[in-house]
């Protein structure tokens, strides 16, 4: 194949994939929420309610004077919500959608991409709502919204990479999904939702910065109130994680696909 044919071939593939993912998104929305508007509202309210609940709990035991518990915990929870939702659902994605593979244009990664796009868009929406609410109630203005969006997108991509790996692993070894579920909760104290790196003692700071999600929480908070603390993050490190998990996950799914027996 010459370069021109190669490009045309790739473009055709990209158009096909866009079509497939678009169709999957609409199908997922319809089957998850039915054709009722309430379902779509729930898409936004679930993270919003859970986030607010956590904000309230911390409101009762206010211990950090510099940040409101809402802007710290409720907003932080949204970022964690992406991680939890994407990684937890990973192991069910293949078994529950297996029959879609009868359509040759549907590939395993498409199943994930479609879901994650929905997740990311709804969480960005929730974030905007929460930010506006904080502005109306407290008069707080976010310092740099692009950093917040970037953190949400980064978290979606990182979770996606991990989800691809987790899905391939659970296909290879049944029962592993329980471990994945437990892990998403066990990581909670370490993921960066409950602390700023600068609060930690030096030795712990170094350890915390090995955890990729910590960088994303720092990035988001830098966007929220960066002038009030010293943010620690390295986006190159997060990008390396995203790249590595995607390479590993996509390669593993190729092997999974060949082994998958339908019906």
């Amino acid at each position: 194949m010459g370069i021109r044919e190669e490009v045309a071939f790739t473009l055709r593939g990209a158009r096909m994939q866009r079509r497939v993912i678009g169709a999957l998104i609409i199908r997922e929305l319809h089957s998850r929420f039915g054709r009722h508007y309430f379902g779509y509202i729930w898409l936004f309210f679930e993270p919003l309610l859970l986030g607010s609940a956590i904000g309230f709990v911390h409101l009762l035991q206010d211990h950090s004077a510099r940040f409101g518990p809402f802007e710290f915990y409720a907003v932080g929870y949204i970022l964690y919500f992406i991680f939890r939702g994407v990684v937890n659902r990973a192991s069910a994605a293949i078994p529950s959608n297996m029959n879609l593979l009868y359509h040759r244009s549907v590939t395993l990664p498409d199943l994930f991409f479609a879901r994650h796009l929905i997740e990311a868009v709804s969480c960005i929406g929730v974030m905007l709502v929460l930010m506006s609410a904080l502005f109306v109630v407290n008069g707080e203005i976010v310092e740099d919204p692009t950093k917040i969006i970037l953190a949400l997108v980064g978290m979606t991509l990182l979770s996606q990479g991990l989800a691809l790996v987790a899905a391939a692993a659970t296909e290879a070894m049944e029962g592993l999904e329980r471990g994945v579920h437990a892990l998403t909760y066990l990581i909670l104290p370490a993921c960066g939702m409950f602390f700023l790196v600068e609060w930690l003692p030096d030795w712990l700071q170094e350890l915390a910065l090995w955890v990729p999600t910590v960088h994303l929480f720092e990035l988001m908070r830098d966007g929220q109130f960066g002038s009030r603390f010293m943010a620690h993050y390295d986006l190159g490190y997060v990008a390396a994680w995203i790249l590595l998990t995607h390479l590993l996950g996509l390669a593993a799914l190729r092997i999974t696909r060949r082994r998958l027996g339908l019906e």
Binding site: G22, R27, H30, G34, Y102, H103, R104, L262, E263
Partner: protein, 212 residues
């Protein structure tokens, strides 16, 4: 435009050791041909259907497709019980890049489901479900329809419309029923103990199959 098998092998690792479905199959099915594939129960017909449709990869060898082949009709091809029949049809239209309006109109007309088209598919009877699935697959308009025996093309209005539509495109019918193959196909192959043999003469194929 055709479907071509080049040295296709398939085996599975099961608890009782290697299960061999195909050992080195060759064959070519051109566009518009109506070919039956006969095999006894347990000979690996369903696996062969999945391989021809492209959802399952051969262990070794190639299957070259240069015409649009349908998903295996009669297998649960990703229809969601929570969605209405119409929504499922629209999904397939989007997936295959077809005109949504045209597909839904065709399905409404062909499936004769009336009001049910707007109800979730989990409320359908199995007959209604297969009528919808068939209507949707015909609406997409493939070059070749891959049909598993589970399909009952009876002598109903629907069955006749289906047969008429198939008449104008190609068909690969995988079945254990010589009568069905005789009715719908012009040529046949026999799958037995991992060997797939194509016969140009339908009677020869049926005779071989009956002698098994």
């Amino acid at each position: 435009m055709s479907l071509e098998l080049i040295d296709v092998h398939k085996h599975y690792l099961t608890r009782d050791g290697h299960k061999i479905i195909l050992r080195g199959a060759y064959g070519k099915i051109a566009r518009g041909e109506k070919v039956g594939i006969l095999g006894r129960n347990g000979s690996g017909k369903s696996t062969l259907v999945r391989m021809l449709s492209g959802v399952e990869a051969p262990t070794r060898g190639h299957i070259k497709r240069s015409m649009a082949i349908s998903w295996p009709i009669g297998m649960a091809a990703g229809f969601s019980g929570q969605l209405s029949g119409a929504d499922n049809a629209r999904f397939i239209a989007r997936l295959y890049g077809r005109d949504i309006q045209r597909i839904t109109e065709f399905v409404a007309d062909f499936s004769e489901l009336g009001e049910y088209l707007r109800m979730p598919m989990m409320t359908y009877s199995s007959g209604m479900r297969s009528r919808l699935a068939l209507a949707v697959s015909l609406a997409v308009d493939f070059d070749c329809y891959l049909v598993d025996e589970a399909l009952a093309v009876g002598d109903t209005r629907f069955g006749r419309a289906f047969a008429e539509k198939i008449e104008r495109s190609g068909l690969i019918l995988v079945s254990h029923s010589p009568a069905l193959v005789r009715r719908l196909c012009t040529r046949a192959a026999v799958l037995d103990q991992g060997i797939l043999t194509f016969y140009d003469d339908l009677d020869e194929a049926l005779a071989t199959y009956n002698a098994l």
